[in-house]
Amino acid sequence: MIEELKDAAHRALTDAGVGASEDKTWPLLVELGWLLVALPEDLGGIEQGLPGACAIYGELGRSVAAAPYLPAMLAMEAVTQSGIEDRDSWIERLSGGEYVAAPLARCSVRVKGGALSGAASAVQAADTAEHLLVFSDEIVAMAPLKTKGVEIVPRITWDETRRLFDVRLDGAALDGGVVLAEGDAARALSRRLTVHRDFALAAESVGAANAMFEMTVEYLKTRKQYGRPLAMFQALKHRCADLKMQISAAEALLQDSLDKLDTEDALTMGRMAKQLAAATYFTVAEEAVQLHGGIAVTKEHACHLYLKRALLNQHLGEGVDRYELDIAASVLGA
């Protein structure tokens, strides 16, 4: 099932082209039902869980697609896991393709007197969405964006395939929104969403790294200098071999962790998967530009799209260094 999903996504996104815009990719993924991938069957989904979603993230990464799929999937999961009364109508709205925003980096939101205060960083789709999914140890909620006390600041980034915003909430009312969890339930749900986010970023990074690497090897086979294809030079071959091994390792860790989601510490596994995948993608991108040579620093070639996404992905989630420190804490016991 997941393999079929992956193949279908691959075909659809290959047709859409590398770095395809939101206008193209969002309607496509809504129509193809990708928002329903992780949703349980009794709620109208196809119940492939996080591994199913990761197959899609991988393909979106492969084609550096622009669609704000991750915020939508986080919101779907948050709503599905919550006990709210009008859950089904929310699921219907979201799966119908209503844009939803969610932070891809830090989110610190508190609730006071029925209003929200705090900040959400690297929020995708904040301008087109009606609601922002906020999640912290204190509260998980769908907060209305078009209301008083909400400030949306566009943050133009080098990765033009992602439109990011900082959102500041200052006593923002929840009318028209919904609280999904509070207290202990919020902590648990927030943790679950963090795991989802980390695996999503890992899968996307692995997909993108694979695509960029394949592109590079193809280029080396085609480009001739000194009367031979560049791919014949051992100095370049060995660099490619190392990259291939590193990508395989990140991919194996991702798949292995997805297989073991229910049995072990999911938070740590998500952190490891994200850290290694983002770091590997960064290394691949760094090397791929160098191996392509001059063409890679021009906009004529797709390399720069992958490079910019790689630079950004390192810093999403908890950011570089923080992941390493958290993983170390799991080994050191504190």
Binding site: K237, H238, A241, M245, D256, L325, I327
Partner: protein, 401 residues
């Protein structure tokens, strides 16, 4: 609790419990301490004893065909045994590895019935075998080997020198690859023989390694006679037989070794604590990055074996596993020796039969080259990966030394 990979079936889970209970009961306790700072003989005694126990329980020969003691286990079952051995931190059967895997699998796959009957029972009784493949001038480029095997009547006469033969000073027999015919192509003209290490003209010289170990040997052959009936396969088909030998352990070792590395992660806590640097964010960050890599190396080895079990291994997959393990291991020991600081340099303890996770970090660092050089060096793996998996063209072969 599962150790690695996808969930066990009921039968595998039962086997896992059985192996775990047996190891708890029978494993030599405190072997690491007992093997520190001792002479080779103590290590050999431990190996013999541990081998006997494992053979008795059937855990040394799960890969042998049904009908042999302990044999007939599926690859999935073999994997469970290796995982449990790693988990228990049991000693590795270094002295018997060539006998149990290289010799046995070669005999089983390529040997005649007479040869199987003649040699396999001896292996179970504890005969030690060594490998005579590499030569001083034929390392990575094995096919360029020059040891001569000259057919005279009903026997081959061997002249030449082999090197890197593990525990050859204790070996009863040798898997010998020698040249009996023309070397064009270099893989042609080779013959695969089972040589008696007690025969006249065999000289073994242990190699003094930088760690103080003498695990490897040079073996000299001076007019050593090997009867024709101890040839495996046809004369000239030695290369193909040798490939069977080298493929015999099928990824199990790296499942075990990468797991050993994962189980040894707490050693970093020990060394950081000893150095009073448990809170040092520099070390903690590096440990975090390494931990993800170690888990990834386990996942790579594990998934490779699952692929083999499913029968869809592809060219180059094995090279990824080997290169991933060796590079991760080097990161592992590099970080350990860095954490150990100056104190680590004063720690000159030598542990026999240890893997690379003794916690004596300078020793572990030096030992780790075993995996980046032996069994197909990292550079050879990179060639295989790039040329055979990625399809990058070979360099022209016109240039000659």
């Amino acid at each position: 609790m599962q150790t690695n990979g996808s969930a066990d079936s009921e039968a595998l889970s039962a086997l896992r419990g059985e192996v775990r209970a047996w190891l708890k009961e029978n494993m030599p306790t405190g072997w690491r301490e007992a093997m520190t700072g001792v002479e080779q003989e103590a290590f050999v005694a431990l190996q013999r004893d541990w081998f006997g126990k494992l053979v008795g329980a059937g855990y040394a020969t799960p890969h042998w065909p049904a009908g042999w003691p302990g044999g007939g286990r599926s690859l999935a079952e073999q994997k469970v045994i290796y995982e449990e051995v790693a988990r228990a931190d049991a000693p590795r059967l270094i002295m018997y590895f060539v006998a149990l895997y290289h010799a046995a699998c070669t005999l089983i796959e390529c040997g005649s019935q007479e040869q199987k009957d003649k040699y396999l029972p001896g292996i179970l009784k504890g005969e030690v075998w060594c490998q005579g493949f590499s030569e001083p001038n034929a390392g990575s480029d094995l096919a360029s080997l020059r040891t001569r095997a000259e057919l005279k009547g009903d026997r081959y006469v061997i002249n030449g020198q082999k090197i890197w033969s593990t525990m050859a000073q204790y070996a009863d027999r040798c898997l010998l690859l020698a040249r009996s015919g023309p070397s064009d192509p270099p893989q042609g003209g080779l013959v695969y023989l089972l040589a008696d290490m007690r025969a006249k003209g065999v000289t073994v010289r242990p190699i003094h390694q930088i760690t103080g170990d003498d695990e490897f040997c040079e073996v000299f052959f001076d007019d050593v006679e090997v009867p024709v009936e101890d040839r495996i396969g046809e004369d000239g088909a030695g290369w193909a037989v040798a490939q069977t030998t080298l493929a015999s352990e099928r990824g199990l070792t790296l499942v075990e070794l990468s797991l050993r590395m994962r189980y040894a992660l707490p050693r970093f806590r020990d060394v950081m604590q000893a150095q009073g640097r448990l809170d040092d964010p520099i070390l903690r960050r590096d440990l975090g990055a390494l931990t993800a890599k170690v888990h990834a190396a386990c996942a790579v080895a594990d998934r490779y074996l699952l692929k083999r079990i499913a029968g869809d291994e592809q060219v180059g997959d094995a090279s990824i596993v080997k290169l991933c393990y060796s590079r991760t291991l080097r990161d592992f020991v590099s970080l350990g020796q860095r954490m150990a600081g100056l104190e680590g340099q004063y720690d000159v303890a030598f542990m026999r039969g240890a893997t690379q996770e003794t916690g004596h970090w300078a020793l572990d660092f030096m030992n780790s080259y075993n995996w980046t050089i032996a069994g197909g060096s990292d550079e050879v793996q990179r060639n295989i990966l790039s040329e055979r998996m990625l399809g990058m063209p070979r360099e022209p072969k016109a240039w000659r030394l």
